[in-house]
């Protein structure tokens, strides 16, 4: 990876804005190797010519869903990482994901509570200098995402293309323009999944920036994973051979990667455990009612420092609707004429002001000093979903 990365950096020396950029590029990116054409089979030897990056994936713990068995399995160790390779031709970008999995699970032909192994990639609709990152959990109200999902079927894969603008909004795109395939290697006990799509499709160009934000998710059927039960990565970045490295974007994204950007996690923890716990659940600190706000058990594994900084200081910039607005009704409110109770407002994460503007329920924490924000993010980055599992 290093060698390929340096090649690109030599070509775009001006992007080397300092240690933050270097650290960011080193840990968060995978370089797409130029190729005449991108192979669509997972076993093609050409993939091995591309440099590999290993990205952490962790079980989704931000929102709690209601399958008892899947919830019981949440605390068990997951895949840990996906390894990513990328190839880019003049017209296409392809990524190969590989991850270790002890068992192969396919879409059940018959049973009612079995689940397939699956993989997906997510790309923001707009990205590049001047654009923030969408919420990693399927985008947000302002910034939709495109998703490519394949589930292993008894024969081939069930592949679909989606758009989404936040939890619950995933919607199939009728015309699939990507090519997807996944194969299980019985000997090595690992999956290889390929996603290939044109650089340019209607309404979505991957060449908006040389750094294509991409998040990865994998599902383990053996853990009853499907939908929101998944193992996901933070936003990572595929470095395209063209255009030239987007220096302004790198500068923006790499905040928090230089020593000194973030502060003291112990101080941050003290802030989180006095302020944030009112609504968010933290490892070992679960006073807030589940569902009032996203849980932060794994926030460090799925959110970048810049995303956290924006979310803390300007929550209205990232509106996310509750994963399931109907999961809590208000028994205290009078039922309607047919006996139906209204949804409990406390569990809605956003509210619509008179006039139609949607605002986040989270107030902007502008009272924090930049140092306090740095401390807080330093602490949040330590929350990778592995510590002190949620008490039952």
């Amino acid at each position: 990876m290093r060698a390929a990365l340096l090649l690109v950096l030599v070509g775009a020396g001006s992007a080397r804005a300092g240690p933050a950029s270097d650290a960011f590029l080193e840990s968060e990116t995978v370089t797409a190797s130029p190729a005449q054409s991108v192979p669509t089979t997972p076993g093609d030897p050409l993939w091995m010519k591309a440099p590999v990056a290993s990205f952490r994936v962790s079980a989704q713990r931000s929102v709690r869903l209601n399958d008892k068995r899947a919830n019981e399995l949440l605390g068990q160790p997951g895949f840990g990482e996906v390894r990513v390779r990328a190839l880019a031709s003049a017209t296409e970008l392809g990524v190969l994901l590989t991850w270790n999995d002890a068992s192969r699970n396919v879409l059940p032909a018959d049973d009612t509570n079995a689940y397939p192994d699956a993989a997906a990639i997510e790309i923001p609709s707009v990205f590049g200098a001047g654009h923030r990152l969408p919420y990693v959990g399927m985008g947000d109200v302002e910034l939709p995402v495109r998703l490519y999902l394949q589930r292993k079927a008894p024969k081939g894969t069930q592949a679909n293309e989606y758009v989404a603008a936040g939890f619950g909004s995933l919607t199939r795109v009728p015309r699939i323009q990507a090519t997807m395939a996944m194969e299980y290697d019985e000997q090595l006990k690992l999956w290889r999944a390929v996603f290939v799509r044109p650089l340019q499709v209607e309404g979505h160009a991957l060449t908006q920036s040389s750094l294509v934000p991409m998040a990865f998710a994998v599902w383990d059927g053996a853990r009853s994973e499907r939908g929101g039960y998944k193992q996901l990565s933070a936003w990572r970045f595929v470095l395209l051979p063209r255009p030239a490295l987007d220096a302004a974007y790198v500068k923006y994204l790499s905040w928090g990667y230089a020593p000194g950007d973030l502060g003291d996690p112990a101080k941050g923890r003290a802030i989180a455990e006095t302020v944030c716990i009112a609504c968010h659940r933290l490892p070992g600190k679960t006073v807030a009612s589940p569902g009032i706000a996203p849980d932060l058990f794994d926030i460090g594994a799925i959110a970048s420092p810049i995303y956290l900084r924006e979310s803390i200081t300007n929550p209205n910039g990232v509106i996310i609707h509750a994963v399931n607005p109907n999961a809590h009704y208000s028994k205290a409110s009078p039922p309607d004429k047919n006996g139906a109770y209204p949804n409990a407002d406390a569990y809605q994460w956003s509210t619509t002001l008179p006039g139609g503007k949607i605002v986040s329920k989270m107030p902007p924490f502008t009272m924090f000093t930049p140092e306090q924000v740095g401390d807080l993010i330093a602490y949040l980055k330590t929350l990778d979903g592995t510590k002190e599992p949620e008490p039952r």
Binding site: K68, N326, P335, D336, N338, Y341
Partner: protein, 338 residues
């Protein structure tokens, strides 16, 4: 959540467990395309495990504050039962009648087993369809808003274009009346025969009911028999109201079970084999008032006095039992049960 609410009342005193409703539903909706194992309508023996097996222990529904509870997605192999065939084509050649597989569970596995010791054992039949709840657990659990209540009648339906087959609805429904179709990878459920409703016809299960136990109508139609049984006489009660979903299928509880025998084998006057506590565990505390009313009205009729309630439960005419072509009245409000 909806402008009006259709409801069904089932009089358990008249259910003979003939499964005609089950067959009417199956031939209409679930004998094909991955639905073969599903029974949108089933009739189970109570006390008993029911269908799917031990569904009352599989979670879902809401707690007392209105928060959705975790639930289990049942397995076709251990909880629903895999449909099987018999070797009927071979028995004329001398073979013994045998199932094609070795079944271990099925939709009517513990039929007529019941509870209690002979000769005071007891059971009754409980027909179950989707309750088309006012606060549906399935709808609450779906993270994709793929489940909705129709505004005009409150029927709960799955938008199959939005369903991604995550099965959280199945975990969320405390009655386990929404099913996963493995062939389509989507969830499906009782649709209250809405294409029939739209033509002014009752659901097939109600139309075909031999015992004429089922009444269908809008809760706000004060003249309708459903509203009279539910709102006026308050003898028809939802199943497991403590699940918190506000079901819209109501049951007239069994009031005339057989009497107990004493040790000489003589029936004990005034006794009832079905324990009241068991009925309370199914229908809540309101079952006491319901039974009181039913017995009082029965006694009235026995004394030769008129009783609208008893006349109504005789179920003379389908046209009175099924009232579908009504308009919503002004100012209706569902009464709250104690």
């Amino acid at each position: 959540m909806s402008s009006r609410q259709l409801a069904m009342v089932m009089d358990l005193n008249k259910c003979i467990g003939c499964q005609t409703c089950t067959v009417a539903c199956k031939t209409q909706w679930t004998n094909r395309n991955g639905r073969e194992y599903m029974y949108w309508n089933n009739v189970e023996t109570k006390p008993g495990d029911g269908y799917p097996k031990k569904w009352e222990a599989l979670g879902g529904g809401f707690d007392a504050t209105g928060a959705l509870q975790d639930g289990v997605v049942p397995s076709k192999y251990s909880e629903y039962g895999v449909p099987w065939d018999y070797n009927q084509d071979q028995i004329l050649q001398g073979a013994e009648l045998q199932p094609g597989t070795d079944p271990t569970v099925g939709p009517n596995w513990d039929e007529d087993v019941g509870a209690g010791d002979f000769p005071n054992s007891y059971f009754f039949y409980l027909p179950r369809i989707c309750n088309h709840c006012s606060n549906p657990g399935c709808l609450a659990a779906c993270p994709r808003s793929a489940i909705f209540k129709r505004d005009q009648d409150g029927i709960v339906l799955v938008d199959l274009n939005r369903c991604e087959g995550y099965k959280l609805c199945i975990a969320g429904c405390p009655y386990k009346k929404i099913y996963f179709n493995p062939k389509l990878s989507k969830s499906e459920k009782c649709i209250f025969c809405f294409p029939r409703i739209e033509k002014g016809l009752p659901p097939a299960c109600a139309q075909q009911c031999v015992g004429r136990i089922r009444f269908v109508g809008y809760l706000d139609d004060a003249e309708g028999q459903v509203a009279k049984l539910v709102n006026q006489y308050k003898v028809a009660l939802p199943l497991h109201p403590e699940y918190g979903t506000q079901p819209n299928v109501y049951y007239v509880p069994p009031m005339t079970g057989p009497r107990k025998f004493d040790k000489h084998g003589k029936p004990i006057e005034g006794s009832d084999r079905i324990p009241l506590g068991y009925l309370e565990s199914l229908f809540g505390k309101a079952v006491h008032d319901s039974l009181k009313t039913l017995h009082a009205e029965l006694d009235k009729r026995k004394a030769g006095k008129p009783s609208e309630l008893m006349e109504l439960l005789i179920a003379y005419k389908h046209s009175d039992m099924f009232r579908l072509g009504t308009k919503a009245p002004e100012g209706f409000k569902l009464p709250v049960l104690k």
